[in-house]
């Protein structure tokens, strides 16, 4: 186990070192491949720089100079230098030996571009497109090399053993010469040609380059994935509730998990396989035309047939593919509603109705998927048929030409081989046409998140200092709030002051804006009009960190995080001591069940606190706020998950403890607010009554209604009498 780990580490270190010194790799590669260069060089006595090579060169230089690939000066410099070195090497080699020059050029190109790609990928997200381009170029170069080599070898075979085709030349060679090496004549030319050995070395070379591409492809794709994930996460952490609600939490989760996985997968596919498909096809076509056998039209027919096939299938299936994505979203939505609404659904016996809705969404998806799958199932068989048909046609037409003596049997086989290369190239391209749209959608969804500006930015000069001395007096002044995109304001004309040492309670029916109101305090949203002040300073002029440090917030739904009970109570910061933690737990009535656990405070909390009950979750999140010693407590309907008795004990203990703090309690139960120093009664986003219980009972009809619906006459009477 440890040795594997160590080996992996060593491998990593080696790779990282190499990464930092890319020229080492290039030098190594060159050294490794030099013999091939010489062997190759012998085969074309008089070479010339092929048109393709010049194109690559110009392409790379152009990319470096005009592509403006990166804002980073270092990367630009690197690219510029590498292409300069490349040009230098190139011109040097040209004068010596053209074939050798090609080799060197190609190898250097591969090395620089692939390594450059990795470096860039790990440095900056913004250059992703560039990475792809560079990787594609690297792969192009690699494949050009392979194809060229293959073709030269084939030509040689055909030339040496007329009448047989390339591969049969082995057999002929061994048949004629026995198992000995051919004569090696240094004086006339570099001749070292030994078919089986050549074949093996060739295969080894291909494998090595493939492994290298695989290594780079996996590092690049995983690197892009890591970077995207981190960027999204960082962004979302900066989001306010406005942005969270714009996307919806569920959608943000999918975007940062599934969508990124999809993009990563497609990048691997692109880099590994698909990038060289068009190159394969293009070069296959070039080679076929160069055989001058007069049979190129067969390939043209095949390519047209294949393009037509892919075109028709995509035209038929594409609209459905696009629709599929929305149907998946729809199914997601319906299932989510089914799951989150499980309580009301059961309570109102709506199961049958919900099942019908689900079935409709599921059936729509099924029908669309069936259609696209069936359409796509036509593709492979027809493609295979076209491929096979091409080879049959070549043999038939070729037979005639062989008879006429215009081509040789060897050419025929070469022709079949290259036509297969072309067709496979097209097959791969068809894969891109299926993969890319899906990845495109995922990438768009990711970009949408990354491009969303953060609406909450700290002021340049926060006035934290002015508020620091304050005791935590919170005042709303003519506050109005409208949800982004909504027409009517959710809150209007809200004015009140919550003073230190007092309990301010907010009560009202569901949807009256209570939660919205308290969400304004820690700036989950910003007011649209008016202002909220903390000790006289507008909270928008404070830094978010300072403001939130003053607030002990307890959400409506107990929300815990993976870790332990301890890590959850101490969530407010490292300054919280064990004593603070224990006291907070005691006040929040959580001590009892914590001590019942064998691990005590070290008890593991599962994701989202799934392994403790709702009431325990709530008590722990109250303890979490208490442990922070805030100036202001905000309880957003935090007591309703508790039974009446715990609720009462907890609040009594809490009141003893909070002392000088400002306490704001949102509640549904009248019993929770009864003894508050000030009660705000809300209705439809406005404060309809403000005062103590007695005052409101007299002056506020809405409050009286709520009270009467929850308490018996006797209770009401006794309450009244008490005070």
């Amino acid at each position: 186990m440890s040795t594997i780990k160590e080996k992996a580490r060593t491998f990593d270190v080696v790779f990282d070192t190499l990464l930092r010194h890319p020229y080492i790799v290039i030098a190594l590669l060159c050294a490794l491949l030099l013999p091939f260069g010489f062997a190759q060089a012998s085969q074309i006595a008089e070479g010339h720089i092929a048109f393709e090579e010049l194109l690559w060169l110009f392409g790379m230089v152009a990319l470096t100079l005009f592509g403006k690939p990166s804002k980073s000066f270092k990367i630009n410099l690197y690219l510029l230098l590498s292409s300069a070195v490349m040009i230098l090497l190139f011109s040097l080699m040209v004068s010596e030996n053209p074939q050798h020059a090609q080799m060197m050029f190609i190898l250097v190109g591969v090395g620089i571009f692939q390594l450059g790609a990795v470096m860039v990928a790990e440095k900056s997200l913004k250059t992703d497109r560039l990475i792809l381009l560079m990787m594609v170029l690297g792969v192009v170069v690699r494949y050009c090399y392979v194809l060229r080599y293959d073709y030269t070898q084939l030509q040689h075979d055909v030339g040496s053993f007329e009448g047989t085709h390339g591969h049969a030349s082995y057999i002929m060679y061994w048949y004629e010469n026995g198992l000995k090496l051919p004569d090696f004549d240094v004086s006339t030319r570099w001749q070292f040609y030994h078919p089986p050995l050549h074949h093996l070395l060739m295969a080894l070379l291909m494998s090595v380059t493939a492994v290298l591409t695989g290594l780079l492809a996996s590092r690049v794709s995983a690197g892009v994935g890591r970077r995207l994930r981190e960027s999204i996460y960082e962004k979302v952490m900066k989001f306010t509730n406005a942005e969270m609600e714009k996307f919806s939490t569920a959608s943000l989760i999918t975007r940062s998990t599934n969508d990124i996985q999809q993009v990563q997968f497609v990048i691997v596919m692109l880099l590994r396989m698909v990038a060289y498909a068009p190159i394969l096809a293009a070069f296959g076509i070039v080679k076929v035309i160069r055989t001058r056998s007069g049979m190129s039209w067969i390939i043209v027919v095949a390519v047209i047939a294949l393009s037509a096939l892919i075109g028709i299938l995509l035209a038929v299936a594409m609209p459905k593919f696009k629709k599929m994505q929305t149907l998946v979203d729809r199914l997601n939505l319906v299932s989510r509603e089914l799951l989150t609404g499980i309580m009301p659904i059961r309570a109102f016996s709506r199961e049958a109705h919900e099942e019908k809705r689900f079935e409709k969404a599921s059936r729509d998806l099924y029908e669309t998927q069936l259609f696209t799958n069936r359409t796509m199932s036509i593709m492979m068989p027809v493609m295979m048929f076209i491929m096979n048909g091409v080879s049959v046609l070549i043999v038939w037409v070729g037979a005639g030409r062989v008879d006429l003596g215009t081509i040789q049997v060897g050419d025929l086989t070469a022709f079949v081989t290259y036509s297969m290369v072309i067709v496979i190239g097209f097959l791969m391209m068809s894969m891109v046409s299926i993969l890319l749209p899906r990845a495109g959608i995922a990438a768009d969804r990711i970009a949408e998140v990354l491009d969303t500006p953060v609406s909450l930015i700290d002021p340049d000069q926060p006035r934290d200092g002015e508020a620091r001395e304050g005791s935590g007096r919170l005042a709303f002044q003519d506050v109005q709030f409208t949800y982004p995109g909504a027409e009517a304001p959710a809150l209007a004309d809200i004015s009140f002051t919550a003073s230190p040492g007092e309990v301010t309670a907010i009560i009202g029916s569901t949807g009256c804006g209570k939660t919205t109101l308290v969400n304004l305090i820690p700036r989950f949203f910003d007011v649209t009009q008016g202002q909220i002040t903390l000790d006289g300073v507008d909270i928008r002029q404070l830094s978010q960190k300072y403001l939130r440090d003053q607030i002990g917030y307890v959400p409506q739904k107990g929300m815990l995080f993976t870790g332990t009970i301890e890590s959850n109570i101490k969530y407010g910061g490292d300054q919280i001591t064990d004593e603070d933690m224990k006291e907070a737990a005691r006040i929040a009535q959580a001590e009892e069940f914590i001590l019942e656990k064998k691990e005590g405070y070290g008890y593991d909390i599962a994701q989202e606190g799934a392994n403790v009950s709702g009431g325990q979750r709530q008590r722990l999140s109250i303890a979490r706020a208490i442990a922070k010693h805030p100036k202001i407590y905000v309880f957003d309907d935090s007591f309703s998950a508790l039974d009446y008795k715990t609720d009462l004990v907890l609040r009594t203990e809490l009141m003893k403890y909070t002392g000088d703090s400002t306490v704001i309690i949102v509640a549904q139960r009248i019993s929770t607010v009864l003894h508050a120093d000030k009660i705000l009664c809300m209705e439809e986003g406005r404060i309809v009554g403000q005062g103590t219980h007695e005052e409101l009972m007299k002056s506020c009809p809405t409050y009286r209604e709520i009270a009467q619906s929850q308490l018996s006459e006797a209770e009401l009477a006794s309450m009244g009498g008490e005070d």
């Binding site: 198992l179 089986p196 919900e354 689900f358 099924y366 492979m380 096979n388 989950f524 995080f561 870790g563």
Partner: protein, 309 residues
């Protein structure tokens, strides 16, 4: 193991290995039982189409042999290329390929129907089951978890069913078909080819063992990071209210880095398979060529058919 600051039991719920693999397969098979006839049709047509595809190259080889013989006869002045015969061979071949295409098409059509129907039925059953589950289940399982079962998992199952069943049938048929073809050309050379097989198996085993380790690590941390994302996104307010953005980001980065490491390694090692196999098969190719040459020297086989190996 560096698992981050909030060192907790990773739940790894989404990627649990099937506890009882054979049992799962059996369940799946019984689930497919309803589509028995369709599956049998798929099998028959897959076998048919593969057989045609395997025979194809041999017949094409016959045509080139015919051409080659005719050419030699022409050069030595003893005859002509028999275009009639080549033509009829090629015509027969086209017919065969056409059959193969139709078979493959029917098989694909039926199979996508079966797998999609199965997906539909599974979703249906899950939704019904949800309405019958005790409420406690929803307290101990997050919504995201159940949701991913309905959508992602069912989808994955459908896709892999569609691909793997077809692939299984086709590869088995191809293997048998190619073996038979090779044996019919030369048993001795087949034997040489088969020698390569153990080499491949050992290589595959080595790679699989290594890549699996990273793969499991990757899935584990993928699950962990999904969990982190899920809980900090849904508890977004709490994270903000307690000024924990930086700490959460730090923890996230830690997991993300481990995920990156295991991710690219598992990707890389599984990708090693192709080039290595390629190299091994090239080894085999050369071995066959050398053996073929010696056999040809001894006059036991024809040159051209040996090429189709």
């Amino acid at each position: 193991m560096a698992e981050g600051r909030r060192n907790a039991r990773p739940r790894g719920r989404r990627f649990e290995k099937p506890k009882d693999f054979m049992g799962t397969i059996r369940k799946l098979l019984s689930y497919m039982g309803r589509y028995r006839i369709a599956v049998i049709i798929v099998m028959i047509f897959a076998v048919g189409s593969t057989i045609f595809n395997v025979i194809g190259p041999k017949i094409l080889g016959n045509a080139t042999t015919e051409l080659f013989n005719g050419l030699i006869a022409k050069i030595s002045g003893t005859g002509q290329i028999n275009f009639g015969k080549i033509g009829s061979i090629l015509l027969k071949l086209m017919g065969l390929y056409a059959c193969s295409m139709v078979f493959a098409f029917i098989q694909g059509w039926v199979m996508s129907g079966v797998s999609q129907k199965m997906c539909f039925r599974m979703r249906e059953e899950i939704s019904r089951k949800i309405n019958r589950m005790p409420l406690g289940y929803f307290e101990s399982n997050t919504v995201g978890d159940v949701l991913s079962r309905i959508t992602n998992d069912v989808d994955t199952l459908g896709q892999s069913l569609n691909q793997s069943i077809t692939q299984l049938i086709t590869s088995v048929c191809t293997l048998i078909g190619v073996l038979v073809m090779m044996l019919s050309i030369s048993p001795l050379m087949t034997l040489i080819t088969l020698i390569i097989l153990p080499v491949s198996i050992v290589l595959v085993a080595v790679i699989v063992k290594r890549s699996q380790k990273y793969f499991f690590a990757q899935q584990k941390y993928l699950g962990k990071i999904d969990g982190q994302i899920e809980e900090t996104f849904s508890g977004h307010n709490v994270v903000k209210a307690f000024n924990r953005e930086e700490t959460e980001l730090e923890a996230f980065r830690e997991t993300n880095d481990i995920l990156f490491e295991s991710g690219w390694k598992s990707q890389f090692f599984s990708g090693l398979m192709m080039p290595l196999m390629n190299f091994v098969s090239n080894l085999g190719y050369v071995a066959v060529a050398v053996a073929g040459a010696m056999l040809a020297a001894a006059g036991t086989i024809m040159i051209v058919p040996s090429c189709s190996m």
